[in-house]
Symmetry: D2
Subunit: 137 residues, 4 copies
């Protein structure tokens, strides 16, 4: 099991005062937790640049009435089935739906899959949301 | 129903050549679709700045063994239940799980909820992935 | 004068180990300096959202042969002369030049000026680089 | 010399209406220029990922009273003198100065130099602003 370690940060009191205000507004219980989150964000950014396995969600908005669209999206997902953990479909209104595809794999492949889904005719919006497998966090 | 409109873009042939290479690599069927996606991205960015209703996904990674964590996250989600459409839980490994909360509402409230979940003790990583309700796309 | 304050961060040793590797690669002399920089980045981001006075650089690439272009850019800069601190011109090659305009003012006005310069016919690329007046850092 | 080429974009009239409002607010003279800028941004992003030569500005805020700081920054700039085109120094107030270093080279080296300057003790804020040499735009 991992254990906790401590280290000390020294900074200007004016800067600390502003940081305290910011993290209070964000609902942080302690400075330490806020700093650990900043560190986590920096490490996840690196994880994506270094090519290690990552987790992510691809979020799409599309009109499910468009003919052939869901078939096309299904085909693409099958070509990348080794990356896909799960996918979920939400009805936003009569025509629009939000689909969330949870993936894990190499950043390059994950980006490729997201690109193909975005490029599909009829998809109105798609974005890739980077996360982490949590192994190294 | 909406109807299609056309307009013409004129640009340098060298630039067009590079754009064609880029969108071919991304799997776009036509230049028009690639441009429409660039426009869609720009509009969704504006939607988030202007305060209109948006859709989004909040993605969190945490260790479900942490005592009290899931109770705390549930409490927060109840405080913002009017924003939450659905949430989904994925087991990444023995300890880590990925939770995806789909929300819709004003950008300010959505950011507030995401901030509170990120600030919760035990949450390793959280990010907010902006999308759109699709109404204006 | 400001004085230094200290606080302690406690985090998982695995996470600290990864952070140490990251900041070593980035050339940081101490963990404390690296954390202070993460805090500074978070505060500057807030400065831009809150509407306080900021400093920034607008960077443009354009072909100085385009007729009327530099006159147009000069007109725009005069309309916003109260924001502009200095501007600098660099010859990239026979046709391309890089112009850097240093500005300070409200984020809204700074974005407006950057937008107008980017929209000017003949400007190939323009981006706004957020910085800070340093007063609160 | 390069020549102009044209292509047609077809999109939903509702979407076009929103795009027209957005670009009018940003001061664009024509839809075509606005689209060409979106394309340029996408190409510059790719330029940075692909490792080709880029141009950039590194912007720093620091207190010039800090002992040894300007010497340290000068040493770093000398180690990377092959990247540096020019640098400019602006006095923000009694203690703070803004320094802008214009660079061109491989994205990897440019990021490395920016990282080292940011990591230098006494530098309050540093950011790297991506631009392009304009050759391919």
């Amino acid at each position: 099991m991992s254990k906790l370690t401590r280290f000390t940060v020294s900074l200007d009191d004016g800067l600390l005062d502003r940081f305290d205000k910011q993290i209070k507004a964000q609902g942080y219980p302690t400075r330490s937790k806020a700093v650990v989150d900043l560190i986590g964000d920096a490490l996840v950014k690196e994880e994506w640049e270094s090519g290690h396995e990552v987790a992510a969600a691809i979020i799409m908005v599309y009109d499910h009435h468009k003919r052939g669209l869901s078939t096309n999206l299904t085909h693409i997902q099958h070509d990348y089935h080794h990356l896909i953990v799960t996918s979920q479909h939400i009805h936003l209104d009569h025509s629009n739906c939000l689909e969330i595809v949870v993936v894990r794999g190499k950043p390059k492949e994950v980006r490729e899959l997201a690109g193909k889904m975005k490029a599909t005719k009829g998809v109105k919006y798609a974005s890739l949301s980077a996360a982490s497998t949590g192994k190294n966090l």
